[in-house]
Symmetry: C2
Subunit: 457 residues, 2 copies
């Protein structure tokens, strides 16, 4: 079994043992069995609890030793003092993949560090792999599988998150994923292992990494270089400040290291660094929704001159150039514009739109700049009612159109985004332009790209 | 009539003439009369159009010359070549406040610059004030009044926006206002005038400024210094890059000037600069919702260690210190925490919450740090279901609690925010911490503060 096949056991198990399954069910119970049943996991589930015969209609095993052989994955959720025995017995039943959810290991104290070292050794000797300890485990919406203790139904989004945090598996505004692994303290399975699995995973088109410490740095660089040639790999790496570095040690027992070293390594591997959780979501949506950006010349189509000015500041910061519109483009839409303000880039279409029909001029302007060979990509500034017009125009084009969605955010706007199927929308010009910059930077090195795809916002 | 009284005519008119009211009504018609009627403006409306007898049941005047005397405000929406005559006739009817919506003035060409100069002179000689040209005018939700051409019902939020853009009157995600003025080309009424009115306006608690150029810089500084002592004044000033500076000239005919000069002036005046539209909204929500932050020591209450680490990076960047919890606080909540991870700051309450009841430990932790005299303010990391618990705890406290709301953003989350009445929520730790930094920086200079207030998100 190669490494990728080993990791597949964690994400696509046919059978799973829940060692330390809770009897308490319902809200606030953090019951992994209940969550698994609610999600409709189609595989076999083997709950283990010494004090129960049945939980939620499922037969319960009193001891790990009583489990049948041939189970793909064990999830260990017992107090830390009971972990080693549970793991030993699981290994005894031939289980080769273990997620240790329990806390109190290298992130805690000396006793915990000792327990973690023993756990690592035990698994290694048995040829088994361990995710954790101190891990919420995995999510795989494509198999309706999740070991997390919180109910979090997931859509089948072709984004995978590899994290050192269970909390981040809750997701962020504008960021969704279909697969996730919380590596926790990372005593064994690490980023390189999971990236290796995701490299050829047909259900993953974009990989997002949340990293506190890298573990085996050399192997990570080797693997990440290969993977990033096939799929964009986004990295969120906190822990720049002194206090945060200390906190990393007590969170996952990782050494966060000097940020500049990481930055250089990421660049070498072709990884795309996100500065914060919002950028992670922005970049992921951009890569999923938009075609590659093969060039540096942007056009802006806007009903607001003030907005265009903000966008131009952001463009300069990201090294973009304002495209010079071709004579053909200018003459094509020129008739709609007042003589004292002929079309140029940014294309400020407000006056023309008010005179000749807003939707009509919007579409005409967008089509004209998309057809212009001097234009590599487009920033479109729009209110949410205009999303419909934009959608049709961007479809099937080889140039990306990112949208700064103006106006307030409410239920109606969210519904319009969903209806339009167009999620390359951003709440500020800066964020739209940075997402385009990520596309551009990746286009320069990428090999394989998929087709645009609709995801839940 | 002093300056503030002059500006009041624009925002609180008892009667308004719409010079160039459109006959076309309905979607996409940009009909100012229709918008005014839809909003239920209780004052008198005098539409002027040479080709209509009646629009939407309102009597129409064929000429400005036929209007009765004593009208507070004229809104001029005719083609640029007809503007001077319309203004002259309005002045002839004794109107002392004019909004010129028409475009094609100093932002356009030489002809436009000439027309603008003539307009300015004409109004000055008559002792009248002009907003614009190239302005969408004003919004005042407290009087159900708006001259904007787009239907945009507004809630009575005690935030006022003074802008050089009509497009920005559409608002942004997370930013709402109850009053707004689009100064457009700013041939007469400028930032200082409107700030002077807002200084003592009881319906305004936070002032947001979008500035492309300042006009009379000396007077602005004088007025802004006074106003910022009474109410927080937030400033968004784009136009840092070379291309953007050129675009400013063709947008509102302003000279954007060197950014460093503006930055120094803002600091001198005690203004709070927002880097982008999202920060403008974040800061406004922070000031509306939260009590002052009188100190630099923050506590973090979190169910995710990874999130706390991101927050600590942001805190260091903003010059915050991690509060050292008092012995009393540690002993008060210590019993819930495992011996290998006693409570410290950040207070990571996940394990304790899973063992002793999530909501209970959340509340206990928050209450303990709020009672701790070593703590000046709190960052709370929470999923949206926890908003209810947080709300009750933050109420009536003299310390601010900012929330990083984890998880995805959807209709349900928006509804939970609305239900909770708590809008000091932010989509990332960086934005929550920057909002707290704005509070802290302002507290050092402020004199008068209101009580927390609920606004639409």
């Amino acid at each position: 079994m190669n490494r990728a096949e080993q990791i597949r056991l964690f994400l696509e198990p046919r059978s799973v043992a829940l060692v330390g399954a809770r009897r308490q069910v319902g809200k606030g119970s953090f019951n992994a069995l209940e969550n698994l049943l609610n999600q409709g996991f189609p595989g076999e589930i083997y709950p283990v609890n010494p004090h129960a015969e049945e939980i939620l209609g499922q037969k319960v095993y009193h001891e790990v030793k009583c489990l049948p052989r041939g189970i793909d994955l064990a999830v260990v959720m017992v107090p830390r003092e009971a972990v080693l025995q549970a793991v030993e017995e699981s290994l005894g039943r031939g289980i080769k993949a273990l997620i240790v959810v329990s806390q109190g290991f290298a992130e805690a104290d000396n006793r915990g560090r000792g327990l973690q070292a023993a756990l690592e050794l035990m698994a290694k000797e048995a040829g088994a792999r361990v995710v954790g300890p101190n891990s919420f485990g995995v999510i795989n919406a494509f198999r309706r599988f999740s070991t997390t203790l919180l109910p979090s139904p997931r859509d089948q989004v072709p984004v995978a998150l590899v994290s050192q945090s269970g909390g981040l598996l809750e997701g962020f505004w504008g960021f969704s994923f279909g697969k996730a692994v919380d590596l926790g303290n990372m005593c064994d399975v690490d980023f390189a292992d999971v990236l290796g699995y995701l490299e050829s995973d047909p259900e993953t088109r974009v990989i997002a990494v949340h990293m506190e410490g890298v573990g085996d740095g050399r192997r990570f660089i080797e693997v990440a270089q290969l993977v990033s040639q096939k799929k964009p790999v986004l990295v969120l790496k906190p822990g720049k400040s002194g206090k945060a570095l200390q906190a990393v040690a007590s969170h996952t027992g990782s050494l966060a290291g000097v940020d500049l070293v990481y930055q250089a390594a990421f660049r070498k591997c072709g990884l795309i660094r996100a500065e914060n959780v919002e950028e992670l979501g922005d970049f992921a949506r951009g890569f999923l929704q938009l075609p590659p950006l093969n060039g540096n010349r942007l056009a802006i189509v806007t009903p607001t001159g003030a907005g265009a000015i903000m966008a131009m500041d952001a463009m300069e910061e990201q090294g973009f150039a304002l495209a010079e519109l071709s004579a053909e483009t200018v003459s094509r839409i020129g008739e709609f514009f007042p003589p004292w303000a002929p079309p140029s880039n940014p294309v400020d279409m407000l006056f023309a739109g008010m005179a000749h029909g807003y939707g009509r001029i919007y579409r005409a302007s967008l089509e004209a700049v998309l057809d212009d060979e001097n234009v590599d990509g487009v920033l479109c500034i729009a209110g949410s009612p205009s999303l419909k017009s934009i959608k049709g125009i961007a479809e099937g084009r080889s140039k990306p159109v990112a949208v700064w969605l103006q106006g307030g955010l409410d239920e109606e706007v969210l519904a319009r985004i969903k209806e339009s199927g167009y999620q390359a929308v951003f709440p500020s010009p800066e964020r739209a332009i940075k997402a385009l910059a990520a596309l551009r930077d990746y286009s320069e090195t990428s090999v394989i790209r998929g087709t645009p795809c609709s995801v839940p916002f």
